[in-house]
Amino acid sequence: MNQKLEERIDEWRSYLHKHRAIQTVDVEELEDHLRTQVKALSEVGLDDDEAFLVAVKRLGDLDALSREFAREYSERLWKQLVTSDRSDGAKGDKTRDVVVAVGLAFAAGVAIKIPELFGLHISGEDDEQMYFYIRNFSLFVLPFLAIYFAWKRGLSTVNRLWLAVPFIAAVVIMNILPFRGEGHTLKLAAIHIPIALWLAIGFAYISGLWRDHGQRMNFVRFSGEWFIYYALIALGGGVLMGFIFFTFESIGIDAEGFVESWVLPCGIMGAFIIGAWLVEAKQSIVENMAPVLTKLFTPLFTVLLLVFLGTMIWTGSSIKIEREVLIGFDLLLVLVLALLLFSISVRDPHAPPGFFDAMQFLLVVSALAVDVLALQAISGRIYEYGFSPNKFAALGENLILLANLSWTAVLYARFLMKRSTFAPVEHWQTAYIPVYGVWAWVVVVLFPIIFKFQ
């Protein structure tokens, strides 16, 4: 091969590298194709230049090829995919995006203060006023997030109407049902309504393509990145508030009232939207945070669970069932599931089973063991004292997670034994997502009725 041809192949290769959906190994494979083709064409009499041109032409339009690769590997560039064609748009698009996001964040911040005009104070002495906020907390912010994505994705009118349904239902349920302020069902509903509405936001995020499993996974990725951004903003917000206190105190002014009633509530609300906008806009900056954190914490949590199980067996003690303990174990399982979901969402589906997969499997199995122990304790308690809304909710959540983790363990074991690919594990997780939504609505709608607003 002559020098000139090599140069042209180099150029071609670096052009290909610019497409983020095509990775180095794919480029290598395509280059092998190109070289073989050039060689074959040279053998039938074309000179290097002609052969190169024909070979490149026959390989096809690189942008179209890149799109095909992108469809196959959405994890490589999930955000570009979702915002495809628009992301390479003009600067005007970006500016409009900023304006809309900041506007909605501002609106969410203002919304939480509107009830005060009607005499409802968050930190008021009156319990009734506080219950109003417990009931409606998520309804002050999540609709704005839904509007943001409905706008960003250009949702069709029909899908917009569908999107509005859960939000209207939530407003009606939370405000018309005769919840009792001190009742457990109110607290349970207040915890579960954000979960139900978050999935509705997912519907907007993936442009209504909720049947598409790849798109569902994109929403999982979004949720993880959003959570990280939110935590970072919260951290910064904490520092900011600290300095507000400090600077004003130095001149003898107490800023506590201002911070408590303005900075804190408006900041908490606004950060929801800003976090989502950041995930959308700053595509590749934090992209690798969720996987790094999962890689870091998966082994640590595995060790925690194993040591815990070991200690329990060694000392022969059993789990004490109190409300906090129930919630604690549920949270632990949710966390294991989140670690699992994130590592799945960023995993290269072609990679063979490795050390980290074995670790992941161990995490799932030990979480299962802990889950079974917790379930045993809960059911013993229910058998003895009967059902209460909290126990029933904990039981349901445990069972849902148990079902998910058990089947995950089976699929993972098959994958580790090389009897199957990784795809079923991924597919199972995305197929399971609606279950969480259904359960959240059950807790919100049916629990108050079943337990008579206890």
Binding site: E68, E72, H350
Partner: protein, 117 residues
């Protein structure tokens, strides 16, 4: 004759699976074989084969290993897995059903045309 885009896309999977089923192969050779088998009638842009191969790999129908080409460069070779063989059999059956249905109806039309003249 130009074969429609949808038909080419639909037939690509069984065709590629069947070719890999003949024995381990790589991208360029698979494209060449498609050309031979269809006497050049089935055409797709060469590059499009690769995303397809990667999809088959993800579904566990084929496995890829990096080997060496005759010039010593790295080359990715694909071979069929057991699941791939099952999938090939399934696809083959489906195509045979379609094929025989089409043959039947065209046979009948052809006879009808003969009788009416």
């Amino acid at each position: 004759m130009d074969i429609g885009k949808d038909l080419v896309a639909a037939s690509a999977t069984p065709l590629v699976l069947a070719i890999i089923g003949e024995g381990e192969s790589y991208g360029y050779a698979i494209n060449k074989r498609v050309g031979e088998l269809s006497s050049g009638e089935i055409q797709w842009t060469d590059g499009m084969l690769y995303p397809l191969l990667h999809r088959l790999e993800r579904n566990g129908y084929v496995e890829a290993i990096w080997g060496k080409s005759e010039t010593g460069r790295r080359r990715k070779y694909y071979h069929l897995t057991d699941r791939g063989r099952e999938e090939l059999a399934r696809q083959r059956h489906q195509w045979q059903v379609v094929d025989s249905a089409l043959r039947d109806i065209w046979g009948m039309t052809f006879n009808a045309v003969l009788q009416s003249t």
